[in-house]
Symmetry: C2
Subunit: 338 residues, 2 copies
């Protein structure tokens, strides 16, 4: 591979001049600039990012840490981020924390070692020492989906309170009063927000919430299947279920089917988050969807801004809360008057 010295030799200048010519802000004469560019062209010179990174202390890579890459929500998010990054001459190191705070921190350490220019993080911790570690990060940071309060960094997410409020309201209007909620993993931001939206809406409608109908989930299908089984086999079973995410809604739906119940005749079901190819799942589940592409675009652009502005005028922490959208399917009906 051609180095800066090859270019210098061919153009008949010193290597510092070549470097200057490439750094744009350099004050090289138009003539020299021209000669250097031509030389670089013919030898096929491309700056070595490792050398640049060694000197500058940071690479042209950005890290993305999510809880589960195989979840299509994050897949789409990653795709959007990667596209933006590439357009700005950056590449993306992606890593899967398995939704575990400890692994997440280990990954962040690795990324720091690699001198990534910044990190897009879907945080999964809340313990005090975890928060301290995140706070202590010296590099550009944007949090997506989940958030760690007290950390002064950009945040891009959806209005999760509103999301579950919309669905809860929807079900209440159908006449449901015994509505169950399969919540997300305890301790996560989205979990508490979605629970909050559910509880507040119920209260606002003057419906007392049966606490035993609020099941702890973990954003995974298996657990939701089990919880739905438990809910549906009770004598005083709910007439509607709000699942805190897509995967859990599908788990619940499977439990419903396996027990021989019919959705929505026997039970209504709603979900937060899109279900991939939800339109071929019978019944189409009524859900609120997040604007994933927009999420990805804002998160990556903000990160790149911070990377560019590094050292310069500090950008104050920003947040962008996207409005979720209700997509009505056929999974809701009035409660059966048995």
């Amino acid at each position: 591979m051609a180095t800066i010295r090859d270019v210098a030799k061919m153009a008949g200048v010193s290597i510092s001049t070549v470097s200057l010519a490439f750094s744009a802000k350099g004050r090289v004469s138009p003539d020299t600039h021209q000669r250097i560019w031509a030389a670089a062209q013919t030898v096929g010179y491309v700056p070595n990012p490792l050398a640049q990174g060694l000197k500058s202390g940071r690479s042209r890579l950005i890290g993305m840490v999510v809880g589960d890459i195989s979840n299509p929500f994050f897949g789409r998010l990653l795709k959007g981020v990667e596209r933006t990054a590439l357009a700005h001459n950056h590449m993306v190191i992606v890593s899967d924390s398995d939704a575990d705070a400890k692994q997440e921190l280990a990954i962040i350490d690795q990324l720091t070692e690699q001198r990534v220019a910044g990190i897009i993080l879907s945080p999964h911790g809340n313990a005090p020492d975890y928060v301290e570690r995140i706070k202590g990060l010296k590099m550009p940071l944007v949090m997506v989906d989940h958030r760690v309060p007290s950390v002064e960094a950009d945040f891009v997410g959806s209005d999760n309170v509103l999301a579950s409020a919309m669905l809860t309201e929807h079900m209440i209007r159908y006449g449901h009063r015994r509505i169950a909620h399969i919540a997300g993993r305890a301790g996560l931001y989205t979990t508490s927000q979605r629970l909050k939206g559910f509880l507040e809406t119920m209260q606002g409608a003057g419906i007392e919430v049966d606490q035993s109908l609020v099941a702890d989930g973990d954003y995974r299908g298996e657990r939701a299947y089990a919880e739905a089984m438990r809910l549906m086999t009770r004598a005083d079973r709910p007439t509607a279920i709000l699942a805190a995410n897509n995967v859990m809604a599908l788990g619940a739906l499977q439990a419903i089917n396996d027990l021989g119940f019919i959705c929505p005749t026997d039970i209504s079901l709603t979900s937060i988050d899109d279900v991939p190819w939800g339109n071929v799942i019978q019944p189409r589940i009524t859900m609120v969807v997040q604007q994933v592409d927009e999420l990805a675009r804002i998160a990556s652009e903000w990160l790149l801004e911070r990377i560019r502005a590094r050292g310069g005028d500090a950008i104050p922490p920003r947040e962008h809360i996207l409005m979720p959208q209700l997509v009505v399917g056929q999974s809701c009906a009035a409660p059966s008057t048995q």
Copy 2:
């Protein structure tokens, strides 16, 4: 961040000795080794990968290039690769080629610039100059899913001929003779292999294939929807459809539903590749599934082997063809005798 010089100073040795102590194969006395390690511990020294990379000419990153990260098949693949890489102290740069050969080459160039240690590639080209470019790669390379023949590199994939043969045979046994095939994107390895399995099995059963029932797809849902629409609105419509991948099967299923047909009563449908949460899609689609985790494990381990053996005894190109597995659902029935 602590550097090797800090450690050297604290341990009272030269930096070369510290380097030697860390490279394992170094011949340092146990006593010195001990002192250096202790010093590294207290100052929190971690080698700078950029400096190491600059000197050695390659980083501890591996590139992964796929056609569509948001497709759960690749999401799972990525997850497996990332896990293995992390266990071997490597990180993964992932990039999405949008199933386009040109973009793929551009990404490979970027990865080469970054001095990645190796690449896991799902190739999407077949033109001669494309093949030359891939052949010319000097770094460890493992191809997954798709393959470019004539390129001497490891390949890990599934037996695609067998995959479609299994499904075709399955449908023939139900009594189907007018079986349609929605093929993958023209020019791709898996596309031709899957088509081959279909045609051979039909021939083997003595059934003449109506060429107009072989539709060109592109592994995307929209196109498959359109093709299924076209197929199903013909007077002499097929009684069964074999879709070349999961996304297309769902597209086809949607077309079937939208037209008011019932699967499997009116039309049987089978698919290659897993459908995420396929068990809540009605009907459960009969499909062959690939062993994605195994695919990921072998691909990443082979790549890491090559990275480790770099310069050493050259490993001859290997290939591993995984056996797909038939998962019977409820999407097939005997053709209606109208």
